[in-house]
Every structure is written in structure tokens, then in C-alpha cells.
Amino acid sequence: MIEIRNLHKYFGSLHVLKGIDLDVQKGEVLSVIGASGSGKSTLLYCINALEEIQDGSVIVDGTDVHAKGTDVNALRQKMGMVFQQWNSFPHLTALENVALAPKIVRKMSKSDAKEIAAQQLKHVGLGDKLDSYPSALSGGQQQRLAIARALAMEPSYMLFDEATSALDPELVGEVLDTMRLLAEEGMTMICVTHEMGFAREVSDRVAFFHQGQMEEISPPEEFFTNPKSEHLQKFLAKVK
């Protein structure tokens, strides 16, 4: 379970997250939407300690992420992250991309790491690309590679930061399908997304961020048909 309490984040004097309170239950799929600059990515980075916070707390499975002495590297293994930019490692094959962290972070044997890597690549539909380099893969395939890479750490949570935003429209579907698959398998997910269809169909709850605050959070039915926040109403009118 992820428990976020009164989370404040500043970049210098810029107040980017202004007191976020949010719980994400095991097995839940939460979508996060909001305008550019509203702090969505920053929220994800604060959850897995890629960014420091200035006030409040983030507790993951009982561990205070930002406490001194917390082993963030161990913690990050619990939380797979997929970025807008695919960030596949260009000098490694698909199999090596996925097998690397299990080998050097989880200290698995070479053969076990390869096995789990091959398994996860099949899982995301890249079973026939094990020996391909990222340069030979499409954007959609590279993004699925990134998902497989995160899954190979056998995380309890997956954080998606606009996983489909940088893709050509015809490649968005395959990545969303993979995310959908994970949701069906019961993965706990936080998905920052611009895909309203996905948010509506797949999530248990949808959150709306506006200028560093979470202005609304509710089940998708209510979120999309009966939004209370004025900013959300405007936002939804624009994206429709």
C-alpha cells in the first residue's frame, strides 16, 4: 500500500506539489490526469525517491521512502517505473536490457536473469525480439521493452508516466493493451496518462491534478460524468 500524507515538493521557490494526500491500495489501478506542469510526473518521482520532498511523507508497505537510512535502491525494486521517453539501453539487446537489473540489483544468476527476462519479454509480446537491439524496435516495442524491464524486478507497484504520449498514434494501442493486461493480472498501478478512454475503462479511480493540488479523485463513472471541480469540468470539455 502506498500512503501519501501532506506531500509538499518545491523546485527552488517553485511550489510544485502543495500538500497531496493519497492512498493507493494493493491491486488498485489509479489514473492521474491534469494539465501540463500540474505536478503529475513529480508525484511519481517523489513516490520512488527519484526526487526529494520538502514536507509530508510517502510510506510504501510501511517504509518511509524519504526517511534517512531507507535503502532506496531496495525500495525502488518494489516499484517499476515506465517513462514517457522509452529509455531503452541502446547498447544492450532486448534480452540484456531486461536481464541486467535482475542480475546486478537482485543478484540473480546469469541464467535465472535471462530466464526471467525472456519470460517478461514474452509477457509483453516481444518473445521474438530477444536478440534485437532497441534501434531495430519501433517506439511501441521499445516502450513494451521498458515495461518488461520493470516487470523483471517483480515489483509490487508499477508507475507509468505518460507511457504512450511520445508514441505515434498507431503504436499507442499495443502499449495500452499491455498496461490493460497488467491491470487484469492484478498489478497495483499508478498511471499518469492523457488517454481518457484508458483511464475510464481500466482504472478503479481517477485523480485530477491542478497546479500542484489534487482537486478531484473518484471512480471513473463519477469522475467523467459528474465532475465537481470546475477546473476538471473545463479540462474534460477541452479534451473531448
Partner: protein, 219 residues
Amino acid sequence: MNYNFHWRPVMKALPELLEAALLTLQVAALSMVLGVLIGLGLSLIRMHMKGPVRWLATTWVELARNTPALFQLFFFGFGLGAVGVHLTPYLIVLIALTFNNAGYLAENFRGGFKAVPDTQIRASRSLGMTAFQAYTRIVIPQVLRIVYYPMTNQMVWAVLISSLGMLVGFRELSGETQFFASKTFRIFEYFAITAVIYYVIVKIILGAASLLSKRLFRY
């Protein structure tokens, strides 16, 4: 023109010349290994540190790149000699070449590091890698590819400027050639053959580098 070419003495000295060529290759290769390690260090210091250490690294790079290689050699030879530090000719050449290589390579590495996006580090860290792992497994391999050709050129350059070593009494290929040439007065012949040997060495380095790159960089 009534210079008579005599190639026979040169041919007789060929084994010695080839042995000296190996010494040339050895000192150049060693100075490259050291130069790469130090150059990597200098570039990291210049990117991540402040204060006197950074100033020292910058000064190193500036001096190595903007003063004649010959002066650098003389500094480690006669300069240090004047204050009582006497190094062997081999060490003088090795240190001068390393100094020069490290300075040039540091600048190449810096460009290489800039060309690898920060998001690669973020992605690595998000997988639980330590900063050290992210650098050694993800960033540096990519940097090495970017600087591979500049590095090859630097190796060629190290072989060629090691010939300055004869001026501090080092009997590498040029020093050895000079030794024989002055003994026999077949100056043109000796230096002509030696030029051919340098040419072949450089061609071998370039050929080997190109073969190696095909094995190393399949992407």
C-alpha cells in the same frame, strides 16, 4: 645529385628497428590505457566537482591541449631534471604521452557524457541500480562508443608523437633510427624505412580498431 643509396645496412638493422618499433607501440599503448583512465577521471571531475580539484583538472586539460607536445615532453624531461627529479627516458615519454592523452581524451569524454541523456540514469536508478552501477553499466559503455574514433585517433597520435622521445634519449623507433643513421650516415635510407614502419603500425592500429569496433558495437 650523386647520393648513392645503400639499403643493405638498413636491412641488417631491421631486427633492431622492429624491436624498437615494439617499444614505441608499448609506450603508446600504455600511455593510452593510463590516459583513458585519467581522462575519464578528469572529465568526471570537471562535470561534477567544484573548487581547486576542478581547477587542477581544467588546467591539465588546457595545458595538454594548448601547448606543443614537444614542450610537454621537455617539461617532464629537462624541466623536472632541472629541479633534481631525474626520470628514465622511458618514464619521461610515458608520463608526457599520458599527460597529453588524458587532456585530449578528457575533452572527448566530456562531449560523450553530454551526449548520453540524463533520462538513461533516471531509468537505471528506477530499477534499483546504484549511481555507480548506472554509470558503469549504462552510461560509460555508451560514452565509449561515442569516443571510440577519437580514441583511435589519439592512439595513432600517441604512436607518432612518441617519436619525439628521441630528443630525451629514448631509444624507441625514432631514437633507434637516429642512432643507426648517425653511425652509418645512411640518414635518408634509415628514416625512409622507419617512415614505412610507422605507416604500417598506424595502418595496423586503424585496421584493428575497425575490426574491434565491429565486435564491440553491434547496435
